[in-house]
């Protein structure tokens, strides 16, 4: 209670102390946060990209009058609502955990970055309101009005991710405050979040990733059906829209990733060194594929001379900062970081190749590819795109360690003093496994139920086609 007594004496605004505590289970706290993020982020992708795809299908219906597009948009919209409902929940858990696990971060810097979440809250609100009007309003609103009700859903999905990633950009490249006694005073939230040069590449990278993950996951379901002979006009149209959404942006991630890497090279050189396993500061540094970082250098990898300098600074002779420039206590876990980064880049490159094949056939031959191997690849691309997405977030979040606010506050200073983190972590794992099992069971069951015929009015909420595959 001495702290409370002290707090009562201090009357100046912002001078309330919030001392650091020892937490035995910091690593479990980090894993718990990572688990919750990994569950939530694929759903974010659907929030980013799916409304646009649904609206495109409905727009085609309005333009052509072809009822097939209406059926498609209607069925997709129900999947969209179910995923949104789960996303609301997993997102709420994240906002709880920010405080439950990292009260030090919230107490010291909530006044700087909290605004980003407040803005996101409003986006979330708009999304929740109009997604309900859109999905429950089929047949009840005029066709134009109904289409218009969907537009705010698409916009709010984009602005929501914009505001959340502005917070992540700030954590990686903090500014807009004065530090006093370990806490932010004189905070300027607008410039801290949106005047941050480090934020834009992250957001663009994630925005395009949203289309890749959504497009490939939806396409994977139809590709599975294709392999089993379900190739009607409806399936072909659905597959074409989903696959095109992913394929036009997947190759772009290579140049956007290059942009992001150059930003990291200048803004967070230690993170780049960890991503590449560069032990010593080197001029004309080599890139290593695969291999293992043994504490000094990458062993058993494939070395490509000077490529790292070329990629990071567009100059094959440029000097790249190594891990040795900071003490060991300030270095992120290098092998986790390298493995995550290489996973993302590897899968991303494969997805880009698959996309180029698809776009080539589509534009040059004016049709869908015919090879069974193509469709097998699309089935694999769905889950792989999620793996790449999570690997990418691991790269940026683990690479920021041991800092929660880069260079300003350590994760260990942010963690809660509450006991029982392992119990909470175990409970959360059990709950998520239980929910996943229930969803899998549901998908199996629904896969066996005959779906209503094309053109029929399904009673809401009808079975989504995402469950058709098994």
């Amino acid at each position: 209670m001495t702290v409370a007594a002290l707090a009562g004496i201090l009357t100046a605004v912002g001078a309330v102390p919030f001392p650091q505590v020892d937490q035995e289970y910091l690593f479990q706290a980090r894993q718990m946060q990572a688990l919750s993020l990994a569950v939530h982020i694929p759903l974010v992708c659907f929030g980013l990209a799916f409304p646009t795809m649904v609206l495109f299908a409905e727009g085609r219906y309005l333009r052509t009058g072809d009822p097939l597009f209406r059926t498609l948009a209607q069925r997709w919209s129900r999947v969209m609502l179910a995923l949104f409902a789960v996303g609301v929940v997993t997102g709420t858990i994240l906002s709880f955990e920010l405080g439950l696990l990292w009260p030090g971060l919230m107490a010291s810097f909530g006044n700087v970055f909290g605004l980003g979440f407040a803005l996101e809250g409003f986006s979330f609100f708009v999304e929740a309101i109009f997604i309900a009007i859109y999905v429950y309003g089929w047949d009840r609103l005029g066709p134009r009005l109904h289409f218009l009700a969907g537009v705010p859903v698409a916009i709010a999905g984009i602005t929501g991710s914009f505001f959340v990633i502005s917070v992540n950009g700030w954590m990686n490249h903090p500014g807009g405050f004065t530090l006093a006694g370990g806490r932010a005073v004189d905070a300027h939230p607008w410039s801290a979040l949106f005047g941050n040069s480090y934020f834009w590449h992250e957001w663009v990278h994630m925005y395009f990733a949203g289309f890749i993950v959504t497009g490939f996951l939806v396409a994977a379901v139809y590709a599975w059906g294709f392999l089993r002979g379900r190739r009607g006009r409806y399936e072909r149209t659905a597959l074409a829209i989903a696959l095109t959404a992913a394929a036009v942006v997947a190759p772009l991630q290579l140049v956007i990733g290059d942009w992001a890497a150059r930003q990291v090279a200048t803004g967070q050189p230690v993170k780049l060194a960890a991503m590449e396993g560069l032990g010593q500061t080197t001029a004309g540094a080599s890139e290593h594929l695969l291999g293992w970082y043994d504490g000094h250098e990458v062993v058993y990898g494939i070395e490509i001379p000077r490529l790292l300098s070329l990629l990071a600074f567009h100059n094959p002779d440029a000097t790249v900062q190594g891990l040795n420039t900071v003490p060991l206590a300030d270095q992120p876990p290098v092998n986790v970081e390298r493995f995550a980064f290489q996973t993302m880049v590897g899968i991303g490159t494969l997805l880009a190749l698959l996309s180029v094949v698809y776009l080539f056939v589509r534009f040059r031959r004016g049709r869908l590819p015919t090879s069974r191997w193509f469709y097998r690849a699309v089935v694999a691309a769905g889950p792989l795109s999620v793996v790449a997405l999570i690997a990418g977030w691991v790269t940026t979040e683990v690479g920021r360690q041991p800092w929660v606010v880069h260079g300003v506050m350590r994760t260990a200073e942010a963690v809660t003093g509450a006991r029982g983190i392992p119990v909470g972590y175990g409970t959360l794992v059990l709950v998520y496994v239980g929910v996943a099992a229930a969803v899998a069971w549901l998908l199996r069951r629904l896969g066996r139920i005959p779906l209503p015929a094309e053109g029929a009015q399904p009673t809401p909420p009808a079975a989504p086609e995402a469950v058709d595959a098994p």
Partner: protein, 419 residues
């Protein structure tokens, strides 16, 4: 003035959450006590009635959290670290409830339905109870300033907290019964209307008794709070809440559900405001609202955001509830499928310039992004790449997929594969 404004927003958010999401929770708890095959109609009514507004109601909680951690960071961190247990329980309840709701919506005639409904109903009781104990812990001054400084168990497992948790569950059930009776009347289902009218009367009586009991416990357990409730604005609000509760019971008895909806909401709003008035200016022990507040530019940013947000939200929410309460978003019984209004029967060939535009955007955009260094060059590059992505998408997705030789021969299409 400025340091208090976000607290006013938090109170408004809390009131909206209690009144709107509280009714959702209550609808879930009625599903729990309405077991048996004959009560399936009651359960279905409770579930369908909250469909379109469920997500929007839920966001109020997120709103309260984000305003609190932005405007009063140390107070927020102290509260959540000390009250980690009930908040984690509430979080688990929210996961189970949301997952069960999303799953339940996808199945109508499968055997696992009851199990999922039970999970939904149990979590609908657990979550408001846990959140109620949190309110009780803050109100009785059991959350000291600091990182998990308070007792992790006794801070929320105490007579006042437990009673307020129970009161939260009862209030939710009462609100839900009133709203569901009103919905049943709109649907002209007299059986359901009667069922929820009697539930509303019973729940209202229980809620009133619990509220009185809570006041007595507060007198013994938290004298400071009791003082606040027995004078000035606190007393006024307690009186208003009691009066509105009694009026609601009378209106329900006479089956005036529209008015009962409003007065039930007023009763809840009054007690939330009364809590704030009773505590004012204390936030946590030794920490006033003014001391907890962030700096001026943060507070200004929060206020600006909320004002701009309200300009967007108020019309949107009005539209949603207007459609919802008039039954425009009800399941089934569509007023007729609208006639499509196509611009033209079929698409012509895609315009010739499309591919050139897409390719130019791609090449110039990628070049600028890779070789440019200034921020504005990158911005132009990203805009061009988005232009490429949009135009290439439209080109590729509007090419008729009919031309595909991938079309299977008739007969390979299996029954039931219409999707």
């Amino acid at each position: 003035m400025l340091p208090d404004l976000p607290a006013v927003f938090i109170l408004l958010g809390l009131t909206a959450y209690t009144v709107l999401a509280g009714a959702d929770f209550g609808a879930g708890s009625w599903m729990l006590v309405s077991g048996g095959a004959g009560r399936a109609a009651v359960r279905d009514h409770a579930r369908h009635a909250m469909g379109p507004v469920w997500e929007a109601n839920h966001v109020w909680l997120v709103f309260v959290l984000v305003v609190c951690w932005t405007a009063y960071p140390v107070a927020y961190a102290s509260i959540v670290s000390t009250l980690a247990v009930p908040l984690f329980v509430a979080a688990i309840g929210i996961i189970l409830r949301g997952a069960a709701y999303a799953l339940r919506g996808q199945l109508d005639a499968t055997p696992g339905r009851r199990a999922i409904e039970t999970v939904f109903a149990l979590s609908s009781v657990l979550t408001p109870f846990a959140l109620g104990t949190v309110a009780g812990a803050i109100a009785t001054g059991r959350v000291p300033v600091g990182n998990a400084e308070g007792n992790l168990l006794s801070s929320w497992l105490n007579p006042t907290s437990v009673l307020i948790g129970t009161l939260a569950v009862a209030t939710s059930s009462f609100l839900a019964a009133v709203y569901l009776a009103a919905d049943a009347r709109r649907l002209r289902d007299h059986g359901l209307e009667h069922a929820f009218r009697s539930r509303a009367l019973a729940a209202g009586a229980v809620t009133g008794a619990l509220a009185l009991a809570a006041l007595l416990v507060v007198r013994l357990d938290a004298p400071l709070l009791w003082d606040g409730f027995t004078r000035g604005a606190g007393l006024l609000m307690v009186g208003l809440s009691a009066a509105a509760g009694l009026v609601t019971l009378a209106l329900v008895r006479r089956a005036h559900f529209g008015g009962a909806r409003a007065s039930a909401a007023l009763a809840v709003a009054a007690i939330v405001t009364g809590w704030a008035a009773a505590q004012e200016p204390r936030f946590l022990p030794g920490l006033t609202v003014g001391q907890a507040a962030a700096g001026t530019s943060t507070l200004t940013a929060v206020v600006t955001t909320v004002v701009i947000g309200a300009i967007v939200l108020v019309p949107s929410l009005t539209l949603l509830f207007a459609l919802f309460l008039r039954g425009r978003l009800d399941a089934g019984a569509a007023p007729g499928t609208p006639v499509p209004d196509p611009h033209r029967a079929a698409d012509g060939r895609p315009p010739r310039l499309g591919p050139v535009f897409a390719l130019a955007c791609l090449v110039v955009g990628a070049g600028l992004l890779v070789f440019g260094n200034a921020g504005w060059v990158h911005a132009v590059a990203v805009a061009l790449l988005c232009g490429y992505a949009a135009s290439a998408f439209v080109l590729a997705a509007t090419t008729p997929a009919d031309a595909s030789p991938a079309t299977a021969a008739p007969g390979t299409r299996r029954p039931g594969s219409a999707v």
